[in-house]
Point group: C2
Chain length 283, copies 2
């Protein structure tokens, strides 16, 4: 049994739970959109929690942020314009801006408070927020994409919370259709897509919605993420046209450091577990 | 906060904890060696706990058992004689015996009660225990290896608990030296090697011990394992001689089903995360 010195996230359905021991609760507030909490933990640095779900920790956010940015950016032949829908902690933005070819990166998170708290409690994730190529917007990402000029973006990274609450619409065919229109001919969406062990049905439905919206070339990739349910997370690239592998040579010669990602990890992430292949083939 | 309807494992050092909601406690006993518990959980089937640590669940044991057996067996050019040190739940034994070339698989677990409980609560893992090629011994695996005839085994799978208590000696140079003597010229040890996120120092020390024992060709591989700390686990192959990849064609043509493992997952598991490569290169 765990006492009040622990923060615990129970997976919806209450099958499993993950806990971190806390030194101190640093902050809590109800923003216009969500309940936000910040903890200092014993072993994982600072922790941001949104609506009861662990979002980002100092210690292990590198898995998610690197995989959700470098995997898509080295997959696209020449990404210049990148949008991040959600991503208010700014960690994905920081990784995207490590790519010198990116001319413009727009982060669109509905909740400005997430970013303001990240600036205080995760300053390292926000270190590129003043890059002249960065633009931070605090508006509804669904509406932003709906209203976008066609052919105005190369990669849309959906760095969202779980598909309940504000993020629910980000997993819908309507949203992916709007993405399709906004994307350039070689463009694609990359969506954080939960755990293949725990959310297989949801991933199947999301992939169907993507296909139905014309984003029919799908690649789900896998990576560890300790603080998320099951410790094993995924992203899914959904593109208009078939993609010819990834820019392996550029990746091998990248001029920035990473903690997890590299050429071999990129390839490894794309390997499809047997049960996942079978489940998706059945559909 | 979690009440008594949950089983919780706190990671040593108490940084994090993982919990499963329980329907019923099915069994508990103090064996000669360890405290054994069996739970029926809400979402993961049955759960075996040894000395407070989750060992095996019905739902997710396939990750560990497949990766700890098929990865080494398809790496060896022609494995005929396999020992499993530990592995009392018999899941690794079942996977090993799926390989038709295996002539003899000996499981050596110090604690017979683990197997007797697995027979009752995890019968599917024990379905090959009566295979004529299988032999189950309930003796000290360290002594078994020490007393072995030289050149009498092709692969030693160390399917142990954490390196505290009965399993501590399984991570020592003395044990690996005894393995070296028992192994055939192309032979190797494969050791479950904890989490690269949480136990990096231990993995480094284990690899040093292997090298010092003459098992100097090392390959650490990575896979998800939801119920183990961090959800991300590893195994390490330590061989006398350099190994020439793996039997990819045999793997592609394997005559048995798997849930996680396949050719692509084998290759993927061998990819080395950037931080791991750097940490091991420094040593």
């Amino acid at each position: 049994m765990l006492d009040s010195e622990w923060f615990t996230e129970q997976l919806p359905g209450a099958e499993s739970a993950f806990s971190l021991k806390i030194k101190a609760k640093l902050h809590a507030e109800q923003s216009e959109f969500q309940h936000l909490e910040i903890y200092e933990t014993e072993g994982f640095g600072n922790l941001m929690v949104i609506d009861g779900c662990t979002m980002v920790s100092t210690r292990d956010n590198f898995f998610y942020h690197e995989m959700m940015s470098h995997t898509p950016l080295f997959t696209h032949p020449d990404p210049k314009r990148v949008w991040i829908i959600g991503g208010g902690d700014c960690g994905t933005l920081r990784e995207v801006l490590k790519h010198p070819g990116v001319e413009k990166a727009v982060q669109i998170d509905i909740d400005e408070r997430v970013t303001r708290l990240a600036e205080i409690y995760f300053p390292e994730l926000c270190e590129s927020n003043n890059d002249p190529r960065a633009e931070l917007k605090f508006i509804d990402g669904i509406k932003w994409v709906k209203d976008a000029v066609p052919n105005s973006v190369d990669i849309i990274i959906v760095d969202s919370t779980d598909p309940v609450g504000p993020a629910e619409g980000l997993f819908s065919a309507a949203f992916y259709r709007d993405c399709f229109k906004a994307l350039s001919p070689n463009g694609f969406v990359v969506q954080q897509s939960e755990s293949a062990l725990l959310h297989l049905k949801l991933i199947g439905e999301m992939r169907d919605a993507m296909s139905n919206a014309g984003l029919s070339h799908l690649q789900t990739f896998f990576f560890p993420q300790c603080i998320y349910p099951s410790g094993w997370w995924s992203g899914t690239i959904a593109s208009k046209v078939a993609l010819a592998g990834f820019r392996e040579q550029d990746c091998a010669n990248k001029a920035f450091d990473t903690e997890f990602y590299n050429v071999d990890m990129h390839k490894a992430a794309l390997a499809q577990p047997e049960f996942f292949k079978k489940a998706m083939a059945k559909k």
